[in-house]
C-alpha cells in the first residue's frame, strides 16, 4: 500500500510536569521526529503539562539538562499549533505571560472539540 500521501492529524498530549519524570523530554523528541513526516502536528498542554512551557526554567541545581528552549525551536520545524488549556493555567496560578512561547489558549470544552477532530493522539 502506498502511504506516501497520507496526512494525518496528530495531537501530542502533554499532561505531565517536566523534570519529575522523563515524559516531557522524551515526548518532545517524538514531536521533533514527527516533523520529518509532513503530518499535521499539534501539541496540547493540559493539567501539569502546562508547566513544561514555564519561562525561566533552570535545572542546574538538580544537575539536569534544560530542554525548555526546544519548545521555542518548534517553529523552525513548522510545528506551530500549541494549545494550552485555560483551566489548567488558572488552577496553577499561571497566565499566558508566564509561558516561553506563543500559544493558543483554549477552554476545556474547546480542547475536547479539538481532540474530537484528531486522527492520532499520543499522550505522555
Amino acid at each position: 500500500m502506498d502511504e506516501a500521501g497520507t496526512v494525518k492529524k496528530f495531537l501530542f498530549v502533554n499532561r505531565k510536569a517536566p523534570y519529575g519524570s522523563v515524559y516531557a523530554l522524551e515526548g518532545l523528541e517524538v514531536v521533533l521526529i514527527s516533523a520529518a513526516f509532513d503530518q499535521d502536528v499539534g501539541l496540547a498542554f493540559l493539567d501539569d503539562g502546562v508547566y513544561q512551557l514555564a519561562k525561566g526554567q533552570n535545572p542546574k541545581g538538580i544537575e539536569t539538562k534544560n530542554f525548555s528552549p526546544t519548545y521555542r525551536a518548534l517553529e523552525g520545524y513548522d510545528i506551530e499549533k500549541l494549545y494550552v488549556e485555560r483551566e489548567s493555567l488558572e488552577a496553577r496560578g499561571l497566565t499566558e505571560g508566564d509561558l516561553l512561547v506563543d500559544v493558543q489558549v483554549l477552554g476545556a470544552a474547546e480542547m475536547a472539540a479539538l481532540m474530537d477532530e484528531m486522527d492520532v493522539m499520543i499522550s505522555f
Partner: protein, 100 residues
Amino acid sequence: MLHIVNKSPGERSTLASCLAHARPGHCVLLIEDAVYAATKGHAAGAQVAKALGGGVKVYVLTPDLEARARAGAVAEGVVQVDYRGFVDLVTQNPRVQSWL
C-alpha cells in the same frame, strides 16, 4: 472516540481530566487500577454517574475487576467487557486516547 483510563481515581487525577474532555456519545474504558472507579460505594461514583447522565458510555475491563476482587460490585450503568470487547471498542471508535 474511545478514552482509556488506567489509574485509580484515589491515586491520580487522570479520570477527572478524562471526564472533563469526554463528549456525549464518547466511550470511556476503565482498565487496570482505574476499574475501582466503576465500583459501588466508591467516592468517584458521582463523577462516573455524572458522565453516564451526560451521555458518555462507560466500560470496565472484567479481567482487571476480577483480579482486584471487584467484579461483583460494578456500579449501575457501567458495562463490563473482556479483552475482545476492548479490541472492539478500539476498532468501532474512530479515534483513541489514553489518559496517562
